[in-house]
């Protein structure tokens, strides 16, 4: 078996184990949330009888271990169960029916942001390393550090003020739906994507710059210089291949953040993503939805980390033979 395939399989196995542990942690920690779906939906109007009726129907009276086994058994067969809310006689609202369209929206926003942010961050990082300590380098650093230092919602408000209210270039509400055409979707998602780009570019750009500068002091780079390779080729052909590992790790980290952590941006732009769904589900104690979201988020982290490791290995075969 090719060593890379073996590593991938090993990592996937470990990933599954991690997911299992995560599922136990999610399930048990949700038991500690005060109150349950019945009390949170009914609020002040809750009476003991209505709460009992809810608990009976939702099967909340079963012991925790039984509920866990039922849930994880379903998940293994691809069934995440049905949501507590919106049930009626003979009809249940599947968790995946609820999460599906929103997960797609979240992935779309993350993808769109990545398409803008990753090339931008790499270009800025490489050029900043190339002209380091120049005015350009300082300007790029200062700008990106400024945008990452502001909270997301503030960046979002500034963009709305400038690009939606003063000059009506983009809409301030990004309330897309399944039927929205791709072009419209891109247009509507422009402001949230721009906000997220401003928030994540600094991290990736600084890592690219640092990783390359770090290598520029190595003897083999000096050798390249001595043999007359041009400044830009030294960086692109000689330094960059060895710098990929840390850069890809940071990119993967930021992409994972785009999938799991953008609820504030979703709220400001009224974007129907999965973050808002999870927050609402936690508030109303709609446990099946919370569990499914948490598992999906965990899987996202695991897969993106796996991807980062593979890229590191492919670009640096030495990592295949650890001594």
């Amino acid at each position: 078996m090719h060593p890379i395939v073996r590593t991938v399989l090993q990592r996937l196995g470990l990933g599954l184990l991690t997911l299992f542990v995560v599922s136990v942690i999610i399930f048990s920690s949700l038991q500690f949330l005060p109150g349950d779906f019945a009390t949170s939906v009914l609020g002040q109007a809750a009476t003991p009888e209505t709460v009992a009726a809810f608990r009976r129907e939702l099967g909340l009276n079963e012991p925790a271990i039984t509920r866990y086994i039922q849930w994880i058994g379903g998940v293994l067969q691809g069934d995440f169960g049905s949501s507590f809310s919106g049930r009626s006689q003979g009809r249940e609202r599947e968790v995946m029916e609820l999460i599906g369209p929103r997960l797609w929206n979240t992935l779309f926003l993350a993808g769109m942001t990545a398409i803008i942010a990753v090339p931008l961050a790499l270009t800025l990082g490489i050029t900043a390393a190339l002209y380091r300590n120049s005015f350009y380098d300082r300007a790029v650093n200062a700008t990106t550090l400024t945008t990452i230092s502001f909270p997301e919602f503030f960046v979002a408000y500034i963009l709305i003020l400038v690009l939606a209210t003063l000059w009506k270039v983009f809409p301030s509400l990004a309330n897309v739906r399944e039927s929205t055409e791709l072009a419209d979707r891109i247009y509507m998602t422009a402001l949230p994507a721009l906000t997220l780009t401003l928030v994540i570019v600094a991290h990736m750009m600084r890592m690219t710059r640092a990783a390359i500068i770090n290598l520029l002091a190595s003897p083999y780079i000096e050798m390249a210089r001595l043999k007359g390779v041009s400044k830009s080729n030294v960086i692109i052909k000689h330094a960059l291949p060895n710098a990929w590992a840390p850069i890809v790790n940071v990119i993967a980290f930021n992409l994972a953040y785009l999938v799991v952590g953008v609820v504030v941006v979703e709220v400001v732009f009224v974007y129907p993503g999965v973050g808002q769904l999870m927050v609402d589900a936690v508030t109303t104690r709609d446990i099946p939805v919370v569990q499914a979201c948490a598992l999906i988020f965990a899987a996202t982290y695991i897969l993106l980390n796996l991807f980062a490791d593979i890229v590191s290995i492919v670009t640096n075969p030495r990592l295949l033979h650890p001594r």
Binding site: V41, E49, K168, V267, L277
Partner: protein
């Protein structure tokens, strides 16, 4: 042609702005005056058409079409879009015919007969009959119901259809206000299917057909050409936008025509936009500080009065509600509710009177604790601190205890002797008193048991003579004001903003969004 004739032509849509101004200048008006007059006349006449887009601050992705679970104003407004109620509430807070054309009560007011409007059809073509109404009510009753409206319907002993067009309610005791109960927003009329309520289809009799329900995101509906009443918009959509800045931005940039709950701190900036109108209506909701009248020192009437005079309510309204409210007078009945009075003497800040009552209670000074948390209402901790400051001049030392927000309603409210709380209010005097001031009420948070008050409560409920009933309620409000353990700090206003393109008549005060009726009563000018 005289101005009145011209105005009627404008109202009928037969005269344009240019002609109107030319003729009004000829009739002796200036161009500007003619223009204003045209706008006012054109706006005052409802006309059909347009797509109303609103953005409200509530809504959750876990909302559902099941009316028993409605607990926020995003889904709560649904009841007024694809659905109708038996009884509507008019702008004067009186019950008005909805799907029920008329109703009458027996002499003891414990049997109510509602006559249904004939020939009303659901969106799918089914004709409305009494069985649908029975199913819509029974959905919230019985041992298996999960409805939030269960407790308000406990008074119903039996509900049954009498033929196709009559519904009969048998009550366990007399209630002259029963028509208000069936106007509750949890009780829209939906079709019955096999004896159960078919709420999942979104099928109703209302002015708009539900096109899309995306919980916590949007509700969209298109005109129901078959609607029995009048509604002006061709299409309505209601977005849930929980971020207040996003909501205001959407209104300012013209993405929506209406928003609720603008940020009161920056409302003066919103007012600067000449294209917007801000509406302000005093509702039924009130901020209170209930004292447990069975515990010392609150078991002494004079101590309660000393505290009532030691609070500067004007200041609370100015600083906590930023002026968007009115000071309370220890009467939980909002002035817009029928039979409300403003009891004398008004309980305003008066250190001398406070000291007088303290002395009468045999005390020189007083030290009490008050429990507060942001869970009670936004700004309640600040309110408690302001109360403590104003009470100092009355030789009263109020110690503010900060409680955790989580579990405030189960651990602090009705447990600690004095705390901060909130009532969203009830549409009738009887309903409010029965909920929180009757001796045996589950939520009697002052544990106040006044025999005369309770006697009047029962007899007023079954009294159909309006004058007598009014006298009884006046006496009860006076008793509560003088003797009760409730300190009503202030009433808050519903504040909303909309584009001047939208026009409306008088506003309802029973509930935000013009009582939920904006979708059927408002129009584009």
């Amino acid at each position: 042609m005289d101005i009145d004739k011209m105005k009627s032509l404008v109202s009928a849509g037969k005269m344009g702005r240019r002609d109107f101004i030319q003729l009004s200048v000829a009739a002796g008006l200036t161009v500007a005056a003619g223009d204003n007059l045209f706008s006012a006349t054109a706006r005052a006449t409802p006309k059909k058409g347009g797509h109303l887009k609103s953005a409200v601050g509530h809504g959750s992705t876990t909302d559902s079409l099941d009316p028993g679970t409605w607990e926020n104003s995003h889904v709560g407004d649904l009841g007024y879009i694809p659905y109708d109620y038996l009884v509507e509430i008019d702008t004067k807070n009186s019950p008005a015919p909805g799907l029920a054309e008329s109703w009458e009560a027996s002499a003891e007011v414990d049997r109510w007969v509602f006559k249904l409007r004939k020939g009303v059809e659901f969106h799918d073509g089914k004709t409305l009959d009494a069985e649908d109404v029975v199913a819509s009510i029974n959905h919230h009753r019985g041992p298996d119901t999960k409805s939030a409206a269960k407790s308000i319907l406990e008074i119903i002993q039996d509900v049954k259809a009498n033929g196709k067009d009559e519904v009969v309610f048998e009550l366990s005791s007399g209630s002259a206000d029963f028509p208000f109960v069936v106007s509750d927003y949890h009780l829209p009329i939906m079709p019955a299917k096999d004896g159960k309520l078919d709420w999942a289809s979104g099928n109703g009799t209302g002015p708009f057909k539900l096109e899309r329900f995306d919980p916590g995101v949007t509700i969209e509906a298109k005109r129901n050409e078959n609607y029995y009443g009048t509604a002006y918009f061709d299409e309505v959509s209601m977005l849930s936008v929980s971020d207040v800045v996003a909501r205001q931005n959407a209104l300012n940039s013209g993405n929506v025509d209406y928003i609720d709950r603008p940020d009161l701190k920056t409302i003066s900036l919103l007012k600067r936009n000449p294209g917007l109108e801000i509406d302000q209506v005093t509702g039924f909701g009130h901020y209170v500080a209930p004292m447990n009248t069975t515990m010392a020192p609150f078991d002494n009437k004079d101590v309660r009065l000393a505290l009532k005079y030691a609070i500067n309510r004007e200041e609370l309204v100015k600083k906590i509600l930023l002026g968007f409210g009115s000071p309370g007078n220890d009467n939980p009945i909002s002035q817009s509710i029928k039979y409300a009075i403003d009891p004398e003497p008004r309980h305003a800040y008066d250190p001398d009177k406070s000291k007088f009552h303290l002395k009468k209670a045999g005390l020189d000074s007083l030290k009490v604790d008050i429990s507060a948390s942001e869970a009670a209402f936004a700004g309640s901790l600040d309110a408690a601190v302001l109360m403590s400051e104003s009470a100092k001049a009355c030789n009263i030392d109020i110690n503010v205890i900060r409680e955790a927000s989580d579990g405030y309603w189960s651990n602090v409210w009705m447990k600690k002797p004095w705390c901060m709380s909130f009532w969203s209010g009830r549409p009738t005097t009887d309903w409010m008193f029965t909920t929180a001031y009757a001796a045996e009420a589950k939520w009697n948070d002052t544990f106040w048991k006044n025999p005369r008050f309770n006697e009047l409560l029962v007899s007023a409920r079954a009294e159909l003579n309006e004058t007598k009933r009014g006298e009884m309620y006046a006496e009860m409000q006076n008793i509560l004001h003088d003797d009760g353990g409730i300190m009503v700090l202030m009433f808050n206003d519903f504040v909303t903003a909309h584009s001047k393109k939208l026009a409306h008549g008088d506003l309802n005060s029973n509930y935000d969004h013009d009582g939920g009726y904006m979708y059927r009563r408002w129009w584009f000018a």
